[in-house]
Symmetry: C2
């Protein structure tokens, strides 16, 4: 089996802007339509950036439904994670019924999980899947640390077609070692996608097949340019285009990509204030001012 | 305001045994009735041991309802934590409607939370409360690390009457320093309850007012004996009674109190196999054998 093109290139992770009443549907539809029009390779709604962990079943199903309507021909992936396997299976069922092309699954945890428990989750879910699955490795939010051995075990399960990994090291040689070491244990049809937007050029140049991108949900064009340059083997251009966004990478390192993405979208008028789920708060005044300065420095019109 | 007796002494945290279909209601009712009959000072359902994080709104409301019916005159506290403030407020509403005497709130997190976000959660929830609240400080599951300053800020909020803290140091002097340091910032009416059952005698002897206990949900009598000895100032007896349960404390240190409590209850015939929410798994064969040996060593009949 060859790698699916759906799990290569640039995947954009839009925010799910929220209001007190639920999803800000018009704003969400605009975000999805914007990235689809830009020509990204896939759209993943309900990622961490899409606040999946905070949404109930009905809200999640609605988000997938809206995304399907707005994405045109661009494949839509949907995050389906939950603390309990039972709920993951419900979200999978809903995503499939809405027509999602694939699902993204992070092993959320409350009680810390052992490797056999994480494997058991993926085993139970893939046994009930009719679309491909992306394994979502995000220790900052799930507190699950994947070893390469655990990735290799899970990647053998039917339907697993990609792994979304945390940022690779900035050093090109170390990044290559990281990606090759993981890839050595994977079947050939499983792609590796990098996350941590500031590390994306490094990841793609080190051999990652995809970039699972937070900021592409808001600024798809510069992310597409980086992706196309890197996958064409034009390392200098990819690095230089990534350097152009350095003020953004610095903000994300300082405040986290979730809150920064929300503030950028707000600054650009794409979403309203108060779009994150309490108790999570948006950036404070200083943070917002730093975002505005960064956008100005990068000549991204507010 | 003087400390409430509801937040002193021994609080038992029963498991919420689960089946594929939902809560094992007869088993849960038996667990609650057993600890009530033993004469514990309060019963806290839907703590971490009570699997609150894995249950939906209807299951949680049902658990409180069942507990109220089985607890007799013993006050019932209910865990109300959720990742989103909106959902916490719903659980609070349900717990109050069912007649719970208080609520227990841990700041669950997916996106890591800052101190202002944690404070904001407690601020929003206490503004909507008609019963007292216990602040639940459990970094292993929530990944929120409370400073004493944060505790002091939250303890000023109306309705906050107790704090459930992680294990104190085993060394008596260090334990006293820990408890006094926290207490120095708290209003006089806010009690401190220790958790981590192996550290309970040390915590009570170091000045904690309460023991929020996992194992008292299954073995209330020996826990009551430890609590009564410690609060009567009989340090040697309290330590010696705690030492009698050392095999259990060792198992909890090795496998975690949640999975050990489930296995002990299963060994004693109080709950059925498979009572934890997937992806969490019960102890494997070796773990179960160790539990059986420990119970035998402690002369607790299986």
């Amino acid at each position: 089996m060859k790698p699916s093109t759906m799990f290569t290139g640039l995947s954009a992770f839009p925010l799910t802007p929220l209001t007190d009443a639920g999803i800000d549907e018009p704003a969400f539809e605009r975000l999805v339509a914007r990235v689809a029009a830009a020509g990204v390779d896939s759209i993943c709604v309900l990622g961490s950036t899409g606040s999946y962990a905070y949404l109930d079943r009905a809200e999640r199903a609605r988000a997938v439904e809206l995304a399907m309507a707005g994405a045109g021909n661009v494949p839509v992936l949907a995050g389906v994670g939950a603390l309990r396997t039972r709920d993951v299976l419900r979200h999978v069922e809903d995503a499939q019924e809405c027509g999602a092309s694939g699902v993204l699954l992070a092993p959320m945890s409350y009680q810390p999980l052992g490797d056999d428990e994480v494997f058991g989750l993926y085993e139970d879910v893939t046994a009930n899947l009719s679309v491909p699955l992306v394994v979502y490795d995000n220790p900052t939010t799930t507190r699950v640390v994947f070893s390469d051995e655990l990735h290799a075990r899970i990647a053998q399960l039917p339907g697993v077609l990609s792994i979304k990994i945390p940022p690779v090291p900035a050093d090109p040689e170390q990044a290559k070692v990281r990606v090759s070491s993981l890839r050595a244990g994977l079947p050939g049809h499983v792609t590796i996608g990098v996350s941590g937007d500031g590390a994306a050029a490094a990841g793609l140049l080190a051999g990652c097949d995809a970039w699972y991108s937070v900021i592409a949900g808001i600024l798809p064009e510069p992310c597409l340019a980086i992706t196309r340059a890197a996958t064409a083997g034009n390392a200098d251009l990819a690095r230089s285009l990534s350097m152009d966004l350095e003020p953004l990478w610095q903000l994300m390192a300082r405040f986290g990509s979730y809150r920064v993405a929300s503030a950028v979208a707000e600054d650009l008028g794409l979403v309203s204030a108060g779009n994150l789920p309490a108790p999570v708060q948006g950036l404070d005044g200083n943070g917002r001012a730093a975002v505005a300065r960064a956008l100005e420095e990068m000549k991204i019109p507010g």
